[in-house]
């Protein structure tokens, strides 16, 4: 089956720093892929390359068999790729309903239809009092609105960047459930960039590990978790050796 997203040997450097180095990965239909790696591994850069916020120096990005390399962000969204931001970028002066309706407008022309869709998303995410302004929300609600906006664009591929950072364990569980339902009900392929292991391990079908811009390994969560290379990346080589792992 044709993959939804194909990243083909993409390279991106900032000055002398190679943030993403000859990196390739793919995401299949209805698959949840976890993208993990230490800070500075290039995960967010990769997300920015896929969504058009950055242009790759080399390589190709294919979405549904079509090349999207170097397209501007709004065109990539129209094609069916949505994202959330690691540092959330809210619409502080809009209400929850308005903020999510903005996402729906990429698919529908009329405001009434956009509000109808936004209402569905709001009910799905369990957001209360949708007429509150986004500036008055708590962290969890802000993140849900961020997710809701992306969802309202009716994407085929959803890229979620560190949504669980700063959330309590019970809230992480809620987000985990929501991500799974998004995949199951909406048939969306999802890439989860995450540091919070309970989330990424619990939700992913497959995990890709990135370090210093390159792919270290990929596989099922349990395989990756026991991979010596991964352990040494996360815990450092000396610690890895102490645990009896050879680098």
């Amino acid at each position: 089956m044709r993959p939804v997203l194909e990243v083909r040997s993409v390279t991106k450097s900032f000055g002398g720093l190679v943030a993403v180095n000859n990196f390739s990965m793919e995401v299949r239909e209805r698959e949840i892929v976890g993208l993990i790696g230490p800070n500075g591994a290039g995960k967010t850069t990769l997300l920015n390359l896929v969504t058009g916020f950055l242009k790759p120096d080399k390589g190709q990005i294919m979405f549904m068999g079509e090349e999207i390399t170097g397209l501007p962000p709004h065109k990539i969204c129209v094609k069916g790729v949505a994202r959330t931001f690691q540092l959330i970028k809210p619409f502080p002066k809009l209400s929850i309903l308005d903020a999510i309706a903005v996402g729906a407008l990429v698919r529908v022309g009329s405001k009434a239809e956009a509000y109808r869709r936004a209402q569905e998303v709001i009910e799905f995410l369990g957001l209360k009092e949708p007429h509150r302004l986004c500036e008055s929300l708590n962290v969890v609600e802000e993140k849900l609105v961020e997710l809701g906006r992306a969802l309202a664009t009716n994407p085929k591929l959803l890229l979620i960047d560190e949504i669980a950072a700063g959330l309590r364990p019970s809230e992480v569980e809620d987000i985990k459930r929501v991500i799974k339902i998004i995949r199951d009900e909406y048939g969306v392929s999802i890439v989860v960039v995450e540091h919070v292991m309970p989330l990424v391990m619990g939700v992913s079908d497959r995990i890709v590990v990135m370090s210093s811009g390159s792919k270290v390994t990929e596989g099922k969560p349990e395989e990756v978790a026991s991979n010596p290379k991964v352990i040494s990346i996360y815990l450092g080589e000396r610690r890895g050796r102490m645990l009896g792992v050879k680098p």
Partner: protein, 312 residues
């Protein structure tokens, strides 16, 4: 698509509109009718400047310059081709729109302050060109232009033309902001990157709105030229821009009635302070500082809080 509901909220607006329509019958002094007409001109400029600054977060320093472009384009075509001023003002509008497309396309795709800097440069270039091209523009002496309504000595008809232009500006802005496109405008104004991630071409939204506001501003400027009968570089001068900004900020940025209230109030105050000349700007600058320090949402924001007790 658009529904007018006579809710509690609309009553003050309706009262204000009715009051403005009957005002010439009440004041009956040509001088104050003239002052109000000029006030409407500034109210149009403050309203359109507010659309870019208050809703899209893009500060234009070429706003007065666009009024001057409209005024010169209209005056020159009327003088050289003998067309009536009533047609000329629309030529002024068209010329202003073309210039705004040019500047907007070049500078609104960039982030940060580049747009503001470009508009500042453009306004200055325009002022210099107009002053230097003496043969066409009569430089800083200014061009004498025919009046909009020939042989009319009273300012009452001008008052109503200006009032209708102002209401048209505010109403069309209201309709745009409450449309689906208006939601996109607000999204871009809140977070450009998030808007782009949600499929909005933010550069396009900004350029369209810059063209819309510049078109109205040029039309107003052209009207102003045919109202006072003299088009000079003064129309596009920096103190005019500063006055417009003061009006929008004091009245209330990011609201529709705010800039109108601010413009009419400051215009009337400015008439009382006429003897201070250019030093009036100091007083207005002080007003801006007081507004930003104590009531950021301006007079309108403060009024709204008092009347509707903070409810929207």
């Amino acid at each position: 698509m658009f529904k007018l509901s006579l809710s509690q909220k609309n009553v003050p607006v309706l009262l204000a509109v009715v009051l403005l329509f009957v005002l010439p019958l009440i004041i009956r002094q040509e001088y104050w009718i003239y002052v109000m007409t000029i006030g409407f001109y500034y109210a149009i400029l403050a309203s359109t400047w507010n659309v870019m600054a208050g809703f899209l977060g893009r500060v234009s320093f070429a706003h007065a310059a666009f009024a001057a472009i409209g005024a010169y384009a209209s005056a020159l075509t009327v003088l050289h081709f003998g067309i009536p001023p009533a047609v000329g003002i629309f030529i002024g509008m068209a010329v202003g729109t073309v210039f705004s497309l040019f500047i907007g396309y070049l500078s609104l795709r960039l982030r940060g302050v580049y747009f503001t800097l470009s508009t500042l440069a453009f306004a200055e270039i325009f002022r210099i060109v107009v002053t230097v091209e003496y043969e066409y523009t009569r430089g800083s002496l200014g061009l004498e232009t025919p009046k909009l309504i020939e042989g009319m000595l009273s300012y009452v008809p001008y008052y109503y033309v200006a009032l209708i232009m102002l209401l048209g500006t505010v109403f069309s802005t209201y309709v745009i902001l409450n449309s689906a496109f208006g939601l996109k405008i607000k999204a871009v104004g809140n977070s450009e990157e998030a808007a782009e991630a949600l499929g909005i071409n933010s550069a396009k939204v900004k350029v369209i709105m810059f063209m819309f506001t510049s078109a109205i501003t040029s039309l107003a400027g052209a009207f102003y030229g045919h109202l006072i009968g003299l088009v000079s570089p003064e129309i596009g001068a920096f103190d005019q821009l500063a006055l417009v900004i003061a009006m929008a900020v004091v009245g209330g940025l990011g609201s529709l009635p705010g800039p109108v209230i601010g413009a009419l109030l400051l215009e009337v105050i400015s008439e009382y302070l006429r003897e201070f000349g250019i030093f009036r700007l100091l007083i207005f600058a002080g007003l801006i500082i007081v507004t930003l320090r104590f009531f950021r949402r301006g007079i309108y924001g403060a009024l709204k809080q008092v009347i509707w007790r903070g409810e929207l």
